[in-house]
Symmetry: C4
Subunit: 285 residues, 4 copies
């Protein structure tokens, strides 16, 4: 598959940004839900989902435009009557991939709007987008480029595990373990797209790695695993950060509450609010 | 696989009609269920299921007859003693495929009759029919016809995803997401059968596409994805149409109710019905 | 795989008998459960399970003995020091297969005894036996015998679908749909073993079918599907028969009840039993 | 894959010890839970989980150090500038495998500490470790070493079945059947690593088995099944032993209780404890 480093980096960034965003969002959601038990999906959560869908659709649209209108791109021309052959199928290939994420983004927006579509449609559309992406990479004709094929097979692993996870979420919604796993699969996909760019078309020029050296295959398999270790490290760091942030927020809010309460207390000595005050502030008086 | 355009179009139409019918039926069912909460499967719904089964069985029977008694068909002859070989295995292949849909249709009819068979048997028989269809396409010997093999591999994807979905429905009955997905897989299968017909035996004659040109493979993989986009568009349009239709129906019925109620009101001034009247009609008086 | 017709027929009979037994037992169990709602697994049902396990273990033991001590068998010798090679691996192969069914039989007996092992262990042991059987057929080295490989690949389909079904039953116990499907997979396996015998080593002698004729492959794939149609027919016939039998039994029992009740009524005119009598018998008086 | 017997034995021992430990722990847990109905995971159980995680992490760390700093190992050097090639990829391969078990161990410790991470994270981390292990063995480039490939394919079966089981446990926690199956898959993996060592690099020296003799393939497939039979035997024996041990413990404790109670009774004639005494001890007085 003829790959440019920039195209690969663009795809990687798309998935990585989503992974990063989820790696902060889901732990925070989980911590808040644990705080106030059995809270229903709020109005705010729905607005976040719509915003997410809009960003996804925008990114996907940008990706389609870049793939089509880059100088070497097909400029929406599919069949060349001059050469009697298909033009730039690799660009069309990625256009198709982005198209499904565009649909998934639109699906997100529509299913969280006031239309009240059946819950789970957003996860299904994400799952379909990922399965299609995996299908495209599996059925692509790599020809002799065995290393290319190997790299995209590993990518397909990450893609399919994410797709399978999103499919499970249709039935098991808001399951923190599944959300964490999906996040990790997106981060892995993102970083692996970067790796593909470095291997097949290094940014410093040159022909890419040797497609025939078998030890490269074994190394890249391991490298894929190390990427996942890195992914898990990012996930753990962001979860810990969001935990700390959440606790310090609550603490600060509590302080604000205490100060507010105290001010109220000082003014009106026996206000009805005092029942809600923590013991310490009552002792202060 | 020796394919005629007409045979392929027939198969495509069979699946597409079912997909279209479901794309209207399931959204309507969902909207009605949402309206009157927790309604049990009514007598009417069962009659629809029986009707569906009868149509399926009729189509399948027609398919079997066409495959067997078309001029080039085997006319129920399996083994030719003249050539000491099997006759027209491709026709027998499709006959077998239709046979399982015939059984599925009979299964639908029987399981919704007064026999009170265990619920879920209709979905199981559909799932078995689809799995068998996929198996037939996977184990077929395509020989050198690589493009033929590629086209039917993609078809098998659509078939197996539908089969898997129907299998899940045995356990998760009346799940709108699963029903929608099954509908989309039928629509995709239908339109892909048409595509197969156009590629392997174009209706305007000629030898079909080049089986050795590798770029055709990549293009057709993408084409499969675009078919699915088209499928989703059809699905969305039909859902929206059935939603509008459902709302306008309810509105009209409400109008009729109001008129009827008003007529009653005018005649008997303080009828016991007035408690059921909407506020507006009461204000009218 | 060097196959004798008798060995193949023996295996087929083993699976077919179990399928036949289940095709009568499960419909009857279902009908009785529907009659008296939410009945717990009775003492009688457990005795049936133990009996089933014992028969399975006995059949498997017989199979092992036949495979080992048939004139051409290995007589428990695994390695021949004379030829410096393994002896009769095909016989050992089937011995291993039977061994797991022996273990499954013992598992059935043990888990329904008074030991009170965790429920579901019997289904797990059956699933393990089937998965192992499938594994053995998948990893067997068929060499050039492509038709042999094709036949056993189809067999493995039946085996794995049964194994998967038994695995689901660990979690969804006493689900009539799953039990029916498992029954059908056993019947299919049984009849396919017979077919393998007829194809590879016909009972009337001769060399078996042509391993290189590709049309045989396509025909046998279809043939596998027709076997499944036959299987479903057997299943439907046995279910219908057990239904009729069950109803006539209940009718006869009811008659007996009525006669007994009437007798009681005639003797003591206002017995306390009369409340339990059907209307018709009360009208008789 | 260049394998040393000691490395293979080390890996085997790692998995086998875990299997053995679980084959005692889970039956005991099950028996205790059955005794006192619906007991919540106690503080003691959590300490056992943390201990298990620590041992797993320690073993994995030891494995990494051995793989890296064995005389023939890569000593943390990945790329040799002298030969312009990767150094000792097989050692790095196993290092990667151990790395994920190290992470799984840390995951166990962290998720059962006071941090209150979402339940199921420990099972997910184990599942990820096993899936990664399987992926590493599947994507490894075995070259011409077909027997090597066959042996590791069989190993991957055991690995993936364990991984799939651990994944199910994320959703179905504390399910005795799943725990038993996971235990058996670990025992099988452990004993199969030993077998691999014996086949590819026998401890008594020599070149290992013939990689081209096809009968070796069939024999080793069967051998894998026999290993599983041995595994099940170990499992059954340990379960029976832990059952006996549990019963004798309870009996002894009961005796101790009785004696203690009697002593109390003799001293204070009508103590409030007497209500808790069994009938027999009350009769004694």
């Amino acid at each position: 598959m003829p790959t440019s480093f920039l195209g690969s980096a663009l795809r990687g960034t798309f998935f990585f940004i989503f992974g990063l965003w989820w790696s902060v969002r889901y732990p925070l959601k989980y911590l808040r839900q644990k705080g106030n038990a059995e809270s229903r999906p709020s109005h705010g959560a729905q607005r976040v989902e719509i915003f997410e869908g809009a960003v996804k659709a925008f990114f996907a649209l940008a990706g389609i435009l870049v793939e089509q209108f880059v100088p070497a791109g097909p400029h929406l021309q599919l069949y060349s009557t001059k050469t009697h052959g298909w033009t730039d199928l690799a660009h069309w290939h990625y256009t198709t991939m982005y198209l499904f994420f565009l649909l998934s983004g639109i699906g997100d927006i529509v299913s969280h709007c006031r239309l009240k579509l059946p819950l789970g449609l957003d996860r299904l559309s994400l799952s379909v987008a990922l399965f299609t992406e995996g299908l495209l990479f599996c059925f692509y004709d790599y020809g002799d480029a065995l290393l290319d094929h190997h790299l995209h097979s590993l990518l397909a692993m990450a893609v399919f595990s994410g797709a399978f996870c999103a499919l499970l979420e249709v039935f098991l919604r808001d399951h923190i373990i599944l959300e964490t796993f999906r996040t990790s699969s997106f981060l892995l996909q993102g970083s692996w797209f970067w790796q593909i760019g470095f291997v097949l078309s290094p940014p410093w020029g040159g022909p890419g790695w040797d497609q025939t050296d078998r030890s490269n295959f074994t190394f890249l398999t391991m490298c894929f695993c190390w990427h996942y270790v890195g992914t898990l490290a990012v996930l753990a760091a962001n979860s810990a950060a969001s935990r700390c942030c959440n606790e310090s927020c609550q603490l600060r809010f509590q302080d604000v509450d205490v100060e507010l309460d105290c001010g109220i207390c000082r003014r009106g000595n026996k206000s009805s609010n005092s029942a809600l005050l923590p013991e310490s502030t009552l002792d202060d008086k």
